[in-house]
């Protein structure tokens, strides 16, 4: 009987000790700053600009545009910027549902323009970003140096055997397929009578990795790629010249036998955002810069591993007059 009483008492004493220790701990720790005590920043972002929903598509060039626009909107216009990481399709859909205000680097997408600008009338094109998009076939620089004539498409068949892989079934391999981009490459191979097979790498990651390895190990690779792209600040890929683009030569997808057109990259905003005509809209509308500008910011982010915000600040501080031209006039 006595034993059971004492064992029943001990646990409660134990609990008491634990509790006392906790209280002491709490008292000792009470020295720190209190939450919300001296926070001066919390009141910012309440100008007439309001909230600005900026879509961020998943590639570094876009991230550079978005970073600079967001930084300027926050610091100069006192907007509350909400960046939303979205794939292109989903971002365009967001115009209709009112959750996206602007897309600030659009590559072509004529089908989406037709659907959302012409048919649903939920989006508006607000002009070019100043960046030119180039799409084409590229080889790593060591190949261009060793086989100078490889950059002419007429010589591609001569080198086809070099580009054989486990995937290309005895022919040369054209590594294709960032799934986000339209490709005519199967038609090109067929119509230019090239002894090649198109293999779908399936992601930008796979393409970059293929080029990086090829340059490092001096192995051959021929693939679909595009500029502006941060990867060019690491390795300067060399473009293969396909028969030059002329207006309308890509009208029939099955009969394409010419290079890709140059894309004037542009900005799309939601109709509602445009009609409200706020300062953030003015900023997006006025925003233009060059490929060199974008490459610089993209390099800060991709190679120097800066946060988008820090990269934008660095560029903006060095290019005050360019930024000034984008700000609303009033």
């Amino acid at each position: 009987m006595t034993i059971s009483i004492s064992t029943a008492g001990r646990p409660y004493r134990l609990a008491g000790t634990v509790f006392a220790a906790a209280t002491v701990l709490a008292l000792v720790a009470c020295g720190g700053a209190k939450v919300g005590g001296s926070d001066s920043n919390s009141g910012s972002g309440t100008g007439k600009c309001g909230t600005f929903n900026l879509a961020v598509n998943p590639w570094v060039g876009y991230e550079a545009n978005a970073a600079v626009i967001a930084y300027v909107a926050q610091t100069e216009l006192k907007c509350t910027v909400t960046k939303k990481d979205l794939k292109e399709e989903v971002a365009w859909q967001g115009f209709g549902t009112g959750e996206v205000d602007a897309i600030v680097e659009n590559w072509g997408h004529d089908d989406l323009k037709k659907k959302y600008i012409e048919e649903q009338k939920t989006a508006v094109d607000v002009g070019v970003t100043g960046n030119d998009g180039i799409i084409g076939w590229y080889v790593p620089p060591w190949m261009a140096a060793q086989y100078p004539d490889i950059t002419d498409w007429k010589n591609l068949n001569k080198y086809a055997a070099m580009f054989k892989t486990s995937e290309s079934g005895g022919k040369g391999q054209v590594l294709d397929g960032d799934p986000s981009f339209v490709t005519n490459d199967e038609a090109l191979v067929k119509n230019l009578n090239l002894d090649y097979k198109v293999v779908y790498a399936g992601s930008e990651t796979a393409l970059i990795q293929a080029f990086r390895q090829a340059e490092e190990k001096k192995t051959p690779v021929l693939g679909y790629f595009y500029e502006p792209q941060w990867f060019f600040s690491e390795i300067k890929l060399v473009k293969v010249n396909l028969p030059p683009y002329t207006a309308g030569c890509d009208a029939d997808a099955a009969k394409v036998a010419c290079d890709y057109p140059k894309y004037a990259l542009d900005k799309i905003v939601s109709k509602k955002f445009a009609d409200a005509n706020g300062p953030a809209y003015q900023l997006v509308k006025n925003f233009t810069w060059t490929n060199a500008d974008q490459n610089e910011v993209a390099k800060y982010i991709a190679v120097d591993k800066m946060t988008p915000d820090a990269a934008a600040k660095k560029w903006v501080d060095a290019n005050k007059d360019k930024v000034k031209a984008w700000l609303p006039k009033s």
Binding site: G32, V90, D111, E216
Partner: protein, 677 residues
Amino acid sequence: MSTTTAPPPPSPTTTAAVAPARTGVRRRLSKPLVVAGILAVWVVGWLLLRGRNTLSLSPADLTPLHRWLNDVNDTVGANRNSNPVFLYFFNEIRLVVDTLVTFIQDLIAQPAYGRPVPVLGWLGVVALVAYAAWAFGNWKVALLAAGGFVLFGLQGLWRESMDTLALTLGAVLISLLIGIPLGIWAGLSDRFHRLITPVLDFMQTMPTFVYLAPLTLLFLIGPASATIATLIYAMPPAIRITAHGIRSVPAAPIEATDSLGASRLQTLTKVLLPLSKRTIVLGVNQTIMAALSMVTIAALIDAPGLGKTVIKALQTLDVGTAFNAGLAIVVMAIVLDRVTTAASVRVEEGRRNAGGLAERLRRPLLIGFGAVALVCAYMSYTYVWAAEFPAGSSLGSYLSRAATTVTDWAQSSLSGITEGLKNITTTVLLNPLQSLLTESPWWLVSAVVVGLALLLGGVRAAVIAAACLALLVASGLWQDSMTTLAMTIVATVLVMVLGVVVGVWMGRSGRADRVIRPVLDAGQTMPAFVYLVPFLALFAASRFTAIVAAVVFAAPVAIKIVADGVRSVSATTVEAAEAAGSNTWQMITKVQLPMARQSLTLAANQGLIYVLSMVVVGGLVGAGALGYDVVAGFSQGQLYGKGLAAGIAIVLLGIMLDRIARAAADNDPTPPEGIKV
């Protein structure tokens, strides 16, 4: 049937054993011959008719079906704001889910209620998690949980981890709320079970990429869409495993309660649920794992958390940073897994130890530690140092650098070996199988498949196979489906080889199990996006890379199931075999594997489903075919319909292979052999 014509047997039991054995011998003799015959006809047909009726379709081309699906998608999008279904149904669901997840986020992850920090800071979260782990599990998992959560902070990923945790908790909560009742229903009613099984197959094998964009149309961009995308994939295990638990309650206790005149509700609450509690917790466990495996994909529609870190790092091929975030996901999975497992064990032990000294000590400790946890929570609410994880730890960048170094080393020094491995597997295994499947006329392949299904699985399997094949033809993606099928078969075979070899090893050795299990957990939950970059370096963009990625993801499940099966072979059987003088090899091949046959079938089934769920990831690294179709459909508007059709084709392949394999396993007359050494 043969019993009636057989001579009068000495006793009924022997006949029952002899008769199937006799037919079994006959069938075993003839079946392989017929199968070989069918395959020979196929090869001859392939030689004669190569390249005819292959129904090929180039990646940029569409069929009328694909265009029609595009139109449907457009119509839905255009009418979103005027349709009453949207206004009163989807919007309401969105509101509820959004509110729930945002509430959890406000609690632990995002600045809320006018404060610059969430309600609970890191100290409070760590204390409460550790307390819950101890209260429901034991002190070991409590330490693990506390350590794991502190690690997130040290990695510099506190906010991201809490966002991921909030989203996962939200999705798991809703999954269980809906899944467990449905699972109970499916456990009780055969009809409902039959009805829901294909739906669950669909939910688990339909690639997320296919419904990601439409989801944002239905539920808008935000936590609701991300949560719903996650729970579509995470709910099926809860339903399946609950149903399985209810179904495997032995008949004796149910009959006993029935004879006592218990009502159905009483039988359920007093017998079925208590007896299947452990299995149901396993379902909870798998639901959590499945939810965490969706973290990265959901990031493509702005789901907050660790997934975003992975995706962003991948844009610049920054393996180190992606690995750091991936590791946090793995650690979170392991913590949640071990805590729920410990909780299920505790349920058992608690019942046994009721009234012991430990039990009496427990209550005061519960109160004491509870008070400590509350104090910590209060401090993290009030003080900055306990609210925001102290910055300055360099663990994250150290881990990133280490991962980058290892990857660089592997890429430069192993690629010679890996190149050879890729080439051998591709030429010996993959290419012949693929040309046989893609270059034969579609009707020949279909005939062969239906014939094999009939022979191995019976009429039902053959009918299902025929239906699936017809739909594959209708999808317009026949040739892509066959290419994907070839890769799926090779990957599943590799998964099963690994499953049996490693599974038996783990099942026989507790030490091997302890060492390997965390590696398997990592394989299951480390986002594929993290290891794709080094894999691409080792194997280039190729079908083989896709196969390797699928094996990494699918083998852990198969291994775990086989190990579990081997371990559950009764100890007396094993001892008896040992006493009979069987050596290790005989023990494995004659006793443990045959006795674990059920587990092998389940392992093959789950292995296959997991391989199929990686088809899309394969499309990102050079697999082409259906995986690429789905990815391109997600990225390009005009290919949406084709992507949807490709997603359905993946589901069809899964259902077809699974039903044939299951029917074949049920049909196989070989009885589990006893001790016959």
